[in-house]
């Protein structure tokens, strides 16, 4: 259970070789302004590196971004690796250029939500606040 006062810890990372980091950075900054503690891990990371950092930093939320089309290969892998490393239950949310038809498979792979282009940060922040409780429950 997270108490109401505990600051939400978020890790934002870009798996794969994609360099488009405008969205990831804007979201990182927006969530910080919304009162969360945000670690921006940067780009060109393997799923292993991201999972490792998530466990070490003991984050509540992981935000992944990819605009290169590698999301199906990379996003679910992060979830699997966190589970394999015995990390706590984490909310994994993703964004980027992700076709609608890939969303069911991503959700099956443990991704909680997909936020496409044009999503207001307020919506992401609200989603995190409401869904963290569910994950913990």
């Amino acid at each position: 259970m997270t108490s109401k006062n505990k600051v939400i810890r978020v890790l934002i990372a870009k798996p794969g070789l994609d360099g488009h980091d405008r969205g990831a950075k804007v979201v990182a900054r927006g969530l910080k302004d919304a009162g969360m503690e945000v670690i921006y891990l940067g780009l060109r990371l393997t799923p292993e590196q991201i999972a490792e950092a998530a466990v070490q930093e003991d984050v509540d939320v992981i935000g992944l971004s990819s605009l290169s089309g590698a999301h199906m290969a990379l996003f679910p892998k992060v979830v699997d690796l966190i589970r394999a490393k015995g990390g706590k239950q984490t909310l994994v949310i993703v964004g980027g250029i992700i076709p609608q038809k890939d969303i069911p498979a991503l959700k099956k792979g443990g991704i909680s939500e997909v936020f496409g282009p044009g999503t207001p940060i307020a919506e992401i922040s609200k989603y995190i606040q409401t869904h963290l409780q569910e994950v913990k429950a």
């Binding site: 900054r29 250029i97 207001p120």
Partner: protein, 531 residues
């Protein structure tokens, strides 16, 4: 009614840079510099006859899956009337990994075509005579290797390298700032960039050795003024690096080219292009003491601003692209890529690409805007904005000069910080509805995604890896080993790397292997994360 002065907003500003916009502009608000098209400082156009002589090159950025699919797309585009090619490489090629590298997982053939070796490059151009076409290649950290492959592929077709026409992006500084496909640190990277520029100056007289790019800086969030200023600052850093190698300004500057974005804010963008021509001409003449007008001419490619494409109501993007393309043409660019309306959703389908190309053809052949040079020149508002943008750019240039130039400003994170701030400000403006995005924060509807999107299936990765395996079995591996040793040896000296790279690619050494050899000598760069 004529007396009614009430207005629908408290204040009017240009949408991007927030410059104040007056109710009406009069002759005292803005006048040009009096130069004619084709005359220094080239504000109105670099050529006296503008597009009356030759239209801009219609060049669509394309590349996906393997060389077979991309070769087919190129032939299709050629048949549809494009006048130049523009190669999109997948990320592993751009970042120096082979398709079978663990970091390439999921990326093969996704953002561009998979090129691992000269064999792929030869097949990419199968049936396309490289002596007759003009090709632009978006590649930076591995630009030297890919250019070596292009030269080798052309020579296999029997084409003399002196005949080759095109551009290699080769602009590493904006990679650190915005696009993020660097491999090595700034010092060895600048050496590779200038190796290419020098080699082109000496061996490829018709080739643009660099395309100094504001486009990605803009896409990362910069305003029009920031895009212009940071690109000019990078351009000066490249010129200086060439001078430091002992080259004379007019031996290489005529083959320096540029690349900018065109946003929907039409007049501000036209003003930006005019201001840029004037600024670059002044820099090259006054700062670098060029005496050749060709060195002073800002020649550039334009791409419509990808960031403005919305996933919501994607057909609206056709209208955005039209306005942006119009800005590019009214601004006087030499080459133009128009985005496809479905690109906020996936790589474009053939149909969407066709609409994008037709947009340019309609502007060129139906609208009449290409029939006179700089048709908006003399508009009080446009001239006023041109002057204001120029002033804003010089302010930034001064600031960057004071820091010690672009390399230093990038090392300090200044440029990246400025862009991040603009990106965040824009996002907040959209969320507060101060900035309208039609179909997103206004006039939104509930909608389904359009059903037909282009897909690059996972088998592409497997096919490419198989092909690479076969290559490694069939080539002369001893020769590859020797060639890679030579690359390392030359990399450790000040000698130009291009000849050794050409030798290595001709031995069918791969992008990953050659980059690996260079990594051993140069090391790798890891970016500071600047939010």
């Amino acid at each position: 009614m004529a007396q009614d002065k009430s207005e629908r907003k408290n204040e009017f500003k240009t949408t991007v840079d927030g410059l104040p916009v007056k109710r009406v502009y009069l002759s005292e608000d803005g006048s040009g510099d009096g130069s004619l098209p084709g005359e220094y400082p080239f504000t109105r156009h670099i050529m006296a006859n503008g597009y009356r002589g030759r239209l801009w090159t219609m060049r669509l950025y394309a590349g996906f899956a393997t060389v077979e699919e991309t070769n087919r797309r190129y032939k299709y585009l050629y048949q549809q009337g494009t006048t130049g090619f523009s190669v999109a490489f997948h990320l592993p090629t751009q970042e120096g990994y082979d398709s079978d590298h663990p970091l390439s997982e999921g990326e093969v053939g996704k953002t561009g075509v998979a090129i691992d070796s000269l064999q792929d490059m030869e097949q990419l151009w199968e049936g396309i005579p490289l002596g007759e076409v003009s090709t632009s290649m978006t590649v930076n950290a591995t630009a030297s290797i890919i250019l070596a492959m292009y030269i080798a592929a052309a020579e296999k077709q029997g084409v003399d390298r002196k005949q080759l026409r095109g551009t290699v992006q080769n602009d590493i500084l904006k990679e650190y700032i915005a696009r993020n496909t660097y491999i090595f640190g700034p010092k060895p990277s600048m050496r590779l960039v200038t190796d290419v520029c020098q080699f082109c100056a000496e061996e490829l007289p018709e080739w643009n050795s660099i395309s100094i790019s504001g486009y990605h800086i803009r896409e990362a969030g910069a305003t029009a003024i920031q895009e212009a200023a940071f690109t000019m600052a990078n351009g000066m850093a490249y010129v200086q690096a060439m001078l430091d190698r002992g080259m004379q300004i007019d031996s290489f500057a005529p083959r320096f080219s540029f690349f900018f974005a065109a946003n929907t804010n039409l007049i501000e963008e036209v003003a930006k292009f005019r201001a840029l021509r004037r600024i670059w001409a002044k820099i090259v003449k006054e700062r670098f003491h060029s005496t050749n007008p060709r060195s002073m001419m800002l020649r550039y490619h334009v791409q419509t601003d990808g960031f403005t494409l919305t996933a919501q109501q994607p057909l609206n993007n056709i209208v955005r692209v039209t306005l942006q393309a119009l800005a590019a043409v009214l601004g006087g660019g030499q080459s133009l890529h128009t985005n496809s309306y479905d690109e906020a959703l996936a790589l474009p389908t053939e149909q969407a690409v066709q609409v994008a190309l037709r947009t340019q053809q309609i502007i060129a052949e139906e609208s009449g805007v290409a029939d006179t040079v700089d048709p908006l020149g003399g508009s009080y508002y446009l001239e006023n904005l041109t002057n204001q943008i120029e002033e804003g750019v010089w302010k930034y240039i001064k600031k960057i000069d004071d820091m010690g130039g672009a390399l230093e400003a990038i090392r300090l994170g200044y440029v990246q910080g400025e862009i991040s701030r603009s990106a965040y400000n824009y996002q907040r403006a959209v969320e507060k509805s101060e900035q309208t995005v039609v179909g997103v924060n206004k006039y939104a509807v509930k909608e389904e995604e359009p059903p037909t999107l282009l897909e690059v299936d996972a088998s592409v990765g497997q096919r490419q890896i198989e092909r690479l395996k076969k290559l490694r079995q069939s080539r002369d591996n001893q020769q590859v080993k020797l060639a890679l040793e030579k690359v390392k040896k030359v990399a450790a000296t000040d000698e130009n790397l291009m000849p050794a790279l050409i030798e290595a690619v001709k031995a069918y050494a791969t992008v990953g292997e050659i980059s690996g050899a260079l990594r051993e000598v140069f090391g790798e760069y890891r970016e500071p994360s600047i939010l």
